[in-house]
């Protein structure tokens, strides 16, 4: 039971404060389906969007070239396969000792092979799939299969 400090308006003020707190926590929280839930170990993370005619799948693949990624589509499933290269930048300066020791202070980027299957909500037309890899961002446009596209039905007047 709450003890009121004074006057009848205080409970209302407390209620308002409570709402303010709630509002702040909601507006500053990460989006429900957003970047807070990038699952550990799942690579690459993808964003999928839908238009009337197509599905677009976007994935972040920093360090990869187009030739490093294999994309295949069957029905309503998209598969991404490839490997992240091991980045070994050469020392810029000359005269480095040959047998120098390499120390990694941090390794967050990850390397190695990956394979990911993404279920799409509708079947797509494999022949029409187009992909581009620019600055580490892979964008795949998958036109929906003809039977999956919305159809406009003409209403005939009698």
């Amino acid at each position: 039971m709450t003890t009121f400090r004074a006057g009848f308006a205080l409970p209302l003020e407390e209620l308002r404060d409570e709402f303010d707190r709630l509002w702040t926590s909601l507006t500053t929280a990460p989006p429900l389906h957003g970047w807070g839930v990038r699952p550990e170990g799942v690579f690459p993370a993808v964003n999928v969007r839908e238009t009337a005619d197509a599905l677009t799948v976007e994935a972040e693949l920093p360090g990869l070239e187009a030739a490093d990624v294999e994309i295949s589509v069957t029905g309503a499933e998209l598969m991404l396969r490839g490997a992240r290269p091991q980045v070994e930048p050469k020392p810029a300066g000359n005269g480095e000792p040959a047998a120098e020791q390499v120390v990694w202070h941090r390794r967050e980027r990850g390397t190695g092979g990956f394979e990911r299957r993404i279920s799409l909500p509708v079947a797509v037309d494999p022949a029409g799939v187009e992909a581009r890899l620019v600055d580490g961002v892979l964008s795949i446009t998958c036109p929906k299969a003809a039977e999956a596209k919305p159809r406009r039905v003409e209403v005939r007047s009698a």
Partner: protein, 131 residues
């Protein structure tokens, strides 16, 4: 000289909390490679471009900041596993680095910053001569 010369001690102080909420800012994943003569910081910042990347080195703190241009976002989202926004991250490197020789390259969504150590502080291997 400062004994805590190398990196691990600090990451991203993230001091500036006054960014506009409209533009999200993310911490990129970073590899840090030390070969004695230089330290390379390799950061994943997909979707940026060289013109929008700023690398600064001040008081022993290296900061990388990338402004990522908005991308085409057709239709409605049906699955969203990552957000799109700018990148920012800082590392305290300490002393003994040659700020004038720092280079930064951006390719395929990866930023590589090379920070050479001053010649005076580079580790040297001393040959032991047999008498």
């Amino acid at each position: 000289m400062n004994p805590q010369a190398v990196i691990d001690q600090s990451s991203a102080p993230g001091a500036e909390a006054t960014e506009q909420p409209a533009a999200l800012t993310f911490q990129p994943n970073v590899d840090i490679r030390d070969v004695g003569g230089e330290v390379s910081l390799i950061a994943d910042i997909p979707g940026a471009n060289a013109a929008g990347i700023e690398v600064t080195f001040e008081d022993g703190v290296l900061t990388m900041h990338a402004t990522v241009p908005p991308r085409e976002q057709p239709g409605r989202p049906i699955r969203q596993e990552y957000g799109i926004g700018n990148y920012r991250r800082s590392f305290r490197l300490g002393e003994g680095f040659d700020a004038s020789q720092i280079t930064a390259d951006y390719a395929r969504g990866v930023l590589t910053v090379r920070v050479p150590r001053l010649a005076a502080v580079r580790p040297r291997k001393v040959e032991v001569r047999a008498g």
